[in-house]
């Protein structure tokens, strides 16, 4: 299982805080996971077309789309940070 989490504007666009999902065969990277999620959910697909870049963290570290995703990982999607 992979724990997917959504934050801020991404959470609102998805209408939920996250989900647990079984990693499908052939999904080994962030890019492949995003492609899978976009196929499952039109809201996710439209995130990538939005004005904001979509950031990804695997196990709480920001990574790029080529990063590996494995069973047991925590994968979070969110917009650019605006703290301070």
């Amino acid at each position: 299982m992979v724990a997917v989490q959504y934050f801020a504007s991404v959470r609102e666009a998805m209408g939920r805080e996250g989900e647990q999902l079984e990693l499908p065969a052939g999904v080994n990277t962030v890019a492949e996971l995003m492609q899978f999620l976009a196929g499952q959910d039109a809201d996710f697909a439209s995130l990538e077309q939005g004005a904001n870049p979509l950031l990804v963290a695997v196990n709480q570290t920001v990574v790029d789309a080529t990063a590996a995703v494995e069973d047991g990982d925590e994968v979070a999607f969110f917009p650019p940070m605006t703290g301070g």
Binding site: N52, F78, P79, M81, G83
Partner: protein, 162 residues
Amino acid sequence: MSISIQTEDFDLAREYEGLRQDAGDPGAIVTFTGLVREIYDASAEPGPENRILSLTLEHYPGMTEKCLQQILDNARQRWDLLACRIIHRVGKLQPHEQIVFVGAASSHRQHAFEAASYLMDYLKSTAPFWKKQETPVDSHWVQARESDAEAIARWQASHSGD
């Protein structure tokens, strides 16, 4: 050297005193406090869309703590710091409330000034916090500014080890 993420307010005098105690024999303490503005852009036309009724801060529990600790550790490697502290509030805040505190204590002022500035720049665009603004017109997520990313790029350019 500590971090706090909290809904409650903080007391500047108490935080300053904490840094002073922790540092032992500091020659300089620099503190910065960020507050919620009531007028979002003072240079823009006055209007209801520019007036902030409240600011709601969301974060990514777990990653936020890791990220802030990493920022503190990096600052300690780069400057001679005797003590440092980050406090970031989350939840719903009103105009004029305090949002964020950073403090840096060192033997010399240059280290304390630069470290405090570095902590704020990194915190703003690399720690997982997001602000939502409520105005009389709507409620919207604050957009990241290009100048925030540029601030990070400047620190990286001035230090190849980052």
